[in-house]
């Protein structure tokens, strides 16, 4: 049976096929999926904020830390860094009270991820970001297919 791993806000998990990685209620948060199709190894992070903040514990709730930690974990599971591709989901803008669509936390999360991925030389193969809608994400490590569900 395929194991389904549910990732909560602020968490990051990696796994080897067969497994399904899923997370629910992605708003301004950003889901970063890294995947090596040949090794069938992948990881999913549900990060809240773009960059680690001084004085706060460095954890996967920050986009940059989540990516930095996921890459070596995937390589330990047998992924080849040159084959890893990224998918980005989320980074929406839910309330007008928190800035606008261009400078809100969602947009900053997307920018931070792209910047960090560039540093690791990881290309973005798919993106479902922005807007004003919440998303559920389900990523199958066997097929490499990522399902994004909205409820509105």
């Amino acid at each position: 049976m395929t194991e389904t791993i549910t990732i909560k806000m602020g968490e990051m998990r990696t796994a080897h096929n067969p497994a399904v990685l899923e997370t629910a209620g992605v708003g301004s948060c950003l889901v970063v999926i890294l995947y090596d199709e040949e090794a069938k190894v992948g990881g999913l992070a549900h990060a809240m904020l773009p960059h680690v903040i001084t004085g706060q514990e460095a954890s996967s709730r920050f986009v940059d830390i989540a990516i930095d930690r996921m890459v070596p974990e995937l390589m330990a599971l047998g992924a080849d860094k040159s084959r890893i591709v990224a998918k980005l989901i989320g980074g929406a803008h839910m309330f007008a009270l928190y800035g606008n669509a261009q400078n809100g936390i969602g947009a900053k999360n997307i920018d931070a991820a792209k910047e960090r991925l560039k540093l690791h030389h990881i290309p973005v193969s798919g993106e479902e970001t922005g807007g004003t809608v919440g998303r559920n994400v389900r990523f199958d490590l066997h097929t490499g297919v990522c399902n994004v569900e909205t409820k509105m």
Binding site: G27, M48, R61, K151
Partner: protein
């Protein structure tokens, strides 16, 4: 601030939330013309990323009216309704009925939020002698986890922990349910506690 609140601080804070929610419930009762029941507050000091679990399953659809609290003790006040309850409230006020929330309904909900937040914050502000100002209300209907993440990310920029409290309310005659949430950062919590020490009998 201590990670765990003392039993006394917890009781004081619950009393404060009760005063706010009681006033909001009275206002809601007058607006709808029916009695409104409220529960005693639930109160928790949580890591920012754990807050969504406090409010239930992250993919439940909710209508949220969000008001930022500004002034001496900044925080967030949220009214959260299941979609059906949000529709009922809007239609009660707009005196019409359909199955989707349209722009007029959202305006009605925002207005409800505005009035309730006003009652609540005026009561708190008078009781605690703290200056509390409300922002304009925002509404959104979506998965609660997604809506909250935006609020939490904003608070999470400066804090790892927040104080969250919930008062659940129910209008029996109309079968309307909802929750009134307050989220305060540790600094504001401390300010509120200090004020309660002065004004609540020990």
């Amino acid at each position: 601030m201590n990670k765990d609140l003392s039993a006394f601080s917890r009781d004081s804070l619950k009393e404060v939330m009760n005063i706010g929610a009681g006033n909001a419930a009275t206002a809601l009762s007058q607006m709808t013309g029916t009695p409104v029941d409220i529960t005693t507050p639930r109160l928790e000091l949580l890591k920012v990323e754990d807050v969504t679990e406090f409010t239930g399953k992250p993919d439940t659809i909710m209508s949220v009216v969000l008001v930022k609290v500004l002034g001496d003790a900044p925080g967030v006040m949220m009214m959260m309704f299941p979609k059906e309850s949000a529709l009922k409230i809007a239609h009660l006020l707009m005196r019409q009925s359909h199955t989707m929330l349209d722009e007029m309904d959202r305006t009605a909900l925002r207005e409800v939020g505005n009035v309730l937040a006003g009652c609540c914050l005026t009561a708190l502000s008078n009781f605690l002698k703290l200056n509390m100002i409300q922002s304009v209300p925002n509404t959104a209907t979506d998965m609660v986890g997604a809506l909250l993440s935006n609020v939490l990310a904003d608070l999470g920029q400066a804090n790892q922990e927040v104080l969250i409290s919930e008062v659940h309310f129910h209008i029996p005659t109309l079968d309307i349910n909802g929750g009134l949430f307050f989220i305060f950062d540790p600094k504001s919590t401390e300010k509120i506690l200090k004020a309660t020490e002065q004004y609540l009998p020990q």
